[in-house]
Chain length 219, copies 2
């Protein structure tokens, strides 16, 4: 077809009829994302400072949960339920994000079922749960650490599925090593690192609660 | 090829060069599995009865964790690391199990990467963790409920990936409605139902521990 625009993704034989290229440059996509994320973090940091007796670490965690929760719900939620984002004819920001990110992992444009599944679970279940954590920390709910542990384990399981399926299918979905390391590895490694740290902390807090309960009972 | 044996799986165009049919009948595969599982459960029930102060519910849970842990490690572990099980020329039991189960979900014989990933995570991480739960319950470890919650959430996430990826790919991997309902739904629904129940119980137990800890602190 004469009108068919070539997509930039790898593998080159990926079939994307009706593909429309990015309208925005890389920096026009990344800057608003990082900028609004930073704004959100600053906002949550100051609002949480008005609550009494919330430690600085918990305030930092509230910032993270707000950032990751909204990323899950808005960015990943859009992807999960927009199978034709690569055909988007306007510079609609969320479509641009995934057109750009697909250079790091073409399974997004190619609608790989494992990727769609992980993103849908993340957006629908984990996203709202992240926002609930913010409330749970602010109100010092008993389920705060349990919920944090549960979400972190979900995020880690999602990353395992995400990376292992790519590995099993030949790990050849990046346009170039730059996109591989910056998008595929660089953007995702935070969702391995930070959930691991929070999961370990939550695990320890829960164990401490059981040890305290036991002491109470044996008094 | 004249020597190529037709496989019984759906979709019919699934390419399985070197396929060797089942040697055992359905009952010759299912009976030893259910029989040895029952033997294991009876064994764990009586051994756990010799420990003091373990409730009947906890003893029942120990039976479940032994059954599910060994199923994960042996049955699912074999599958995860045996890409060519469908070529097995002997009546080796574990290969027979997966040749037979593939009638309910041909993605096993077809080596679908999402299925292999979920099975590998289940076998390598969750399997040993299930056996650790038995020890944790017997020794009344503080981490007992946390570990149970973590494994149950992993099992549930695995089931979500398992079922949603099949749905997204057209849900057409069963030889017949019989195999669909008995193998694909029937065999897996227990790993949705039971982990859900144990997760809810663990969640409540952890919350109770935090509430008890709070009372101690505010005394």
């Amino acid at each position: 077809m004469a009108n068919q625009v070539q997509h930039p993704y790898v593998p080159r034989d990926l079939h994307l009829p009706g593909y429309v290229p990015c309208f925005l440059s890389q920096s026009e996509i990344v800057t608003p994302f990082l900028g609004s994320s930073l704004l959100l973090v600053v906002l949550i940091w100051f609002i949480s400072g008005r609550f009494h007796k919330i430690s600085k670490l918990d305030r930092l965690l509230m910032c993270w949960w707000a950032f990751t929760g909204l990323t899950h719900m808005i960015l990943e939620g859009y992807f999960a339920f927009s199978p034709e984002f690569y055909k988007e004819k306007t510079s609609f920001f969320l479509a641009e994000v995934w057109k750009e990110y697909s250079k790091g992992d073409s399974r997004y444009a190619g609608r790989d079922s494992a990727v769609v599944t992980v993103e849908a679970v993340t957006a629908v279940i984990e996203g709202p749960a992240c926002l609930l954590v913010i409330y749970a920390i602010a109100r010092k709910k008993a389920y705060s650490y349990t919920l944090q542990l549960a979400i972190c384990l979900g995020q880690l399981y999602g990353c395992l599925v995400y990376f292992i399926t790519a590995f099993l299918e030949g790990d050849n979905f990046s346009t170039s090593p730059f996109y591989y390391w910056v998008y595929y590895i660089g953007a995702n490694c935070w969702w391995v690192l930070i959930p691991s740290l929070i999961a370990i902390r939550s695990w320890k807090k829960i164990n401490a609660a059981f040890q305290s309960e036991r002491k109470t009972k044996t008094r």
